[in-house]
């Protein structure tokens, strides 16, 4: 019994030491993570993937108006942005049609048009509550990570549906881990005049290029880029 007691207190000491070590290690990793995150976000604007050749784009199409806006932007981009991977929420049927008809009209103008459509779970339905949004966003992240790690785009282009958050987080992680710098280009929807959308607020600190379409927003968010209405 005495021996048993001795053994258990010895084990307790060992467990404590292990836990202490684990906490230090976790703290150290967190610190590295934050330093990397800071570095990745700070150096984004000097990174020029276009100098090396075609720029692979991951385009986050949302639903309805978001898809219309993002396709207006895609329309203006040259053939230098190839291939184009569109991500849509799995509950969205309209967007797929719009994207296909847009891409087939583009195909006439540049011969080597390449695109794909990928589906992930929707991270937030309109009017969904905050707490369940967090859960479903985590769920969407499980699908976004492998997708972004597989496609390794140069740029993620998005304009506001909740689906962009997990995808941008995955893109950021690729950079933090030193696997590939992925630029995050965010264009706030033209609907937002005075306040950013929830997605915009989340992505403002981590995006490399953050566009707004009304001067009132530029005045409130100094990092944002304002070129007038662009959709």
């Amino acid at each position: 019994m005495c021996f048993g007691h001795f053994w258990s207190s010895g084990a307790a000491v060992a467990v404590m030491a292990f836990l202490e070590g684990a906490v230090y290690a976790a703290g150290f990793i967190c610190l590295l993570f934050i330093i990397r995150l800071y570095y990745i976000v700070k150096t984004g604007s000097s990174y020029k993937p276009g100098a090396k050749g075609p720029v692979a784009v991951l385009v986050v199409a949302g639903s309805g108006g978001h898809t219309t806006e993002i396709l207006r932007l895609m329309e203006s981009l040259s053939a230098g942005y190839t291939p184009r991977h569109y991500v849509i929420a799995d509950t969205d049927r309209m967007s797929e049609e719009k994207i296909c008809s847009f891409e087939s009209s583009k195909q006439n103008s540049d011969s080597e048009s390449q695109f794909s459509i990928c589906r992930i779970p929707r991270s937030r339905e309109v009017l969904q509550s905050w707490s369940s949004s967090v859960l479903s966003t985590l769920h969407a992240l499980r699908f976004s990570l492998p997708l972004v790690f597989r496609l390794r785009p140069d740029v993620v282009l998005c304009n506001g549906p909740g689906t962009c958050v997990p995808l941008c987080v995955a893109a950021l992680l690729l950079g933090i881990l030193g696997m590939k710098k992925v630029l995050i280009v965010y264009v706030e929807s033209i609907c937002r005049v005075q306040t950013l959308s929830l997605t915009g607020k989340i992505l403002y600190p981590i995006s490399d290029y953050f566009f707004v379409q009304w001067s009132s927003l530029r005045d409130k968010y100094p990092k944002s880029i304002f070129l007038g209405r662009i959709v």
Binding site: G50, L77, I190, I225, I230
Partner: protein, 164 residues
């Protein structure tokens, strides 16, 4: 035939459909020379019958794949404050009267309609002031709405990313 197209988008806005088909409003419309009324009523519970307003030609439907044609044929578009409907109508160069659903509070979509109103691109009222607005409105004060310039975005991005 001078046509008014009313659209409520993907939602429902029974109050607007009710107001626009009320005898006083129809009278205000005919006084201005509008003879045809096309209503897109969405999920609303009210789908007025073709013969419900004797003084105008009336058509009503819930949804169409594209309302572009109805907008194109209209001389005046009366719309809910939805950004999509506003942009589509203004983009087609139509006179636009936005009717705000004041029962929907904190609807961020109102932001844009309000701003476009401040910039004189559209007229703005509520259901309770609709008839009065139709009687007194002056469409000539509206400023043309120039389309957005995605090319500016493309040029910026090309330069920023070093795309040739």
């Amino acid at each position: 035939m001078k046509t008014v197209f009313v659209t409520v988008g993907t939602t429902s806005f029974d109050e607007l459909i009710e107001s626009i088909t009320s005898p006083e409003t129809v009278q205000a419309l005919t006084a201005r020379g509008y003879e045809r009324l096309v209503l897109q009523v969405g999920r609303g519970s009210l789908v007025p019958a073709a013969d419900s307003s004797p003084h105008v030609t009336l058509e009503a439907y819930r949804f169409k794949d594209s309302i572009a044609e109805d907008i194109e044929q209209a001389d005046l578009v009366i719309s809910h404050a939805g950004a999509g409907s506003c942009l589509e109508s203004l983009g087609a160069g139509k006179s636009l009267l936005v009717v705000v659903n004041d029962k929907l509070m904190n609807n961020h979509q109102l932001e844009m309609a309000r701003q476009l109103h401040m910039d004189s691109h559209l007229l703005y009222c509520t259901c309770s002031t609709l008839t009065e607005t139709l009687r007194t409105m002056d469409l000539s004060v509206l400023q043309p709405f120039l389309p957005g310039q995605p090319k500016n975005f493309a040029h910026f991005l090309d330069k920023a990313l070093g795309v040739q």
